[in-house]
């Protein structure tokens, strides 16, 4: 296989507020967008001709990925104007693909090992994996390495082998897309007409993010494998333990206590006397002022966190400016996404991009604050608040 098509047009509506400003494939995990992990996995397996189907917020993808040269690949972009489904997305790329190609989702995090054997597969093939909680995915029934049936989100448990949405196709697939909007329907059509689809299983890393709090578990899984590095400076009296990566020109001031796995971006100022506990990712240009504790959280770029803040099991998006004594302790919460309620055992706060919080704001566990919101001093925020909320 020399070419791959990555489907990265999707919005990821259940991941709001984070997907209001970027497509799902550009969510940042341990400092890199999910899409980048997919591209790097392909490059490491020798696949350098890449077609990316984009749609929702595509400028974010163009700006970051460019022509792919930075990542050792050659990227061609195809735009899917309206997000109607995965088969519809693939159909847009018909004129850009060679005879054989892989198809991968841009919003599932994989590593090179996940697809290492699959890249040599003969079309038509689907990559499957075993998963604990299969209710959210398409279950694949296989027999002797061939697919017998694919069922989307079945009500009763039918085994725990699921569809990773990674396929090996040839140009023949376009004849079968027809009116089908999603690829699993296309595959079921193929099976109905007697064509064979082989199934290969992987036990490599394959992670999906559906709800905002999933960002934390992906972050933790990836951070276990980061190489430690030091690009900035660590003052005397600061302690750094375990797997910690510190970006260029970042300063860790005295009295700070960093326990890995932790990734800190470029040009940050941490401390003095700040504790960063596992598993935390911090973006670029972040200031964390003294006497703060950040535990198991994901902090975006350009965030300023004032002194005396406690942030646990939280996700804070780019550009938030938080004055002192912000408290987002973790706890049990029932969080609403669309019409479903999810009971979470330990969760902190989810803050959208560009929020301004005055001092002494307290965030109840499970709060979701929309992008560009403002909160006055000494307010408590809870529940789910839309973008541009004003809390007085």
């Amino acid at each position: 296989m020399k070419q791959a098509v990555i489907l990265a047009a999707g919005e990821g509506q259940r991941l709001r507020p984070f997907t209001v400003t970027k497509p799902k494939a550009m969510l940042s995990i341990a400092g890199k967008p999910i899409l980048r992990y997919v591209v790097e996995a392909l490059a490491q397996n020798g696949i350098r001709q890449i077609v990316i189907v984009v749609g929702y917020k595509r400028e974010q993808v163009f700006d970051y990925m460019g022509d792919g040269e930075q990542f050792g690949v050659n990227i061609v972009y195809i735009t899917q104007e309206r997000q109607l489904g995965t088969a519809h997305a693939l159909a847009q790329a018909q004129d850009a693909v060679q005879n054989e190609f892989l198809v991968l989702p841009g919003d599932n995090l994989i590593r090179a090992g996940t697809i290492a054997r699959f890249v040599a597969s003969q079309p038509n093939a689907v990559l499957v994996t075993k998963i604990a909680n299969q209710a959210r995915y398409g279950v694949v029934i296989t027999e002797d390495g061939r697919v017998k049936d694919i069922m989307e989100k079945p009500k009763e448990a039918k085994g725990n082998t699921i569809n990773t949405s990674i396929y090996a196709f040839n140009r023949g697939i376009f004849d079968f897309i027809g009116a089908n909007l999603d690829i699993p329907d296309v595959l079921n059509d193929l099976l109905a007409r007697g064509y064979a689809i082989s199934a290969q299983e992987t036990d490599g890393l394959w992670l999906d993010v559906v709800y905002p709090w999933d960002i934390l578990s992906l972050n933790e899984a990836i951070l276990r494998q980061i190489p430690p590095s030091l690009g900035g400076s660590i003052e005397a009296g600061a302690a750094v333990k375990g797997l910690v990566s510190v970006g260029t020109d970042t300063v860790i001031r005295s009295g700070s206590y960093i326990v890995g796995p932790v990734v800190i971006g470029d040009n940050c100022e941490i401390g003095p006397n700040v504790s960063i506990l596992p598993s935390t990712s911090i973006g670029d240009n972040v200031v964390i002022a003294s006497l703060s504790e950040i535990k198991n959280s994901v902090i975006g770029d350009d965030v300023t966190i004032g002194p005396g803040s406690i942030i646990q099991d939280s996700v804070i998006d780019d550009g938030c400016v938080i004055k002192g004594r912000f408290t987002a302790c973790s706890g049990q919460a029932e969080v609403r996404v669309n019409d479903d309620y999810h009971l979470l055992a330990t969760v902190g706060a989810m803050l959208g991009a560009g929020c301004h919080l005055e001092s002494s704001v307290v965030a109840q566990p499970g709060v979701i604050l929309g992008n560009y919101s403002q909160v006055q001093a000494m307010k408590m925020i809870s529940g789910r608040m839309p973008d541009r909320s004003l809390v007085f």
Binding site: N267, E269, N285, D302, D318, G319, V321, G354, N371
Partner: protein, 127 residues
């Protein structure tokens, strides 16, 4: 010629301005500077390249800002002559591309009205 950029929006201005200035640097690179406003205007500028300014600049918090890379015409390259230029009360910051032909007479007139000048540039008459 010079490079000028402005940003008003929801995101933090500083990193956007510095990123834009590094793309505009071909228009002039003897000095550069940015101004960002939250409570009042904060300016950071120097007679250095944009990359150096990026690393040396303090955190300027604000979602509104302007930036400049300079190709000196009036006044030698220096921190004082770099843009943005502010007025003598520190309330207005200006970045400017081009030249003001009658700046000398404007400058004399403004000095006569009590304004204070710190640079040798033509731009400073604007704020």
């Amino acid at each position: 010629m010079c490079g000028i950029v402005g940003y008003i929006g929801d995101r933090q201005a500083q990193s956007i301005l510095l990123n834009c200035l590094s793309k505009l640097e071909y228009r002039g690179y003897d000095s550069c500077g940015i101004a960002v406003t939250t409570d009042g205007v904060k300016v950071y500028k120097d007679a250095v390249r944009v990359e150096k300014l990026s690393k040396a600049s303090p955190r300027l918090v604000g979602t509104v800002g302007i930036g400049h890379t300079r190709w000196a015409t009036h006044g030698e390259p220096s921190q004082v002559n770099a843009h943005p230029h502010i007025d003598c009360t520190g309330k207005v910051a200006v970045v400017h591309n081009g030249i003001i032909n009658n700046y000398r007479s404007l400058r004399e007139q403004l000095i006569g009205e009590g304004h204070k000048f710190v640079s040798e540039t033509d731009t400073e008459v604007i704020p």
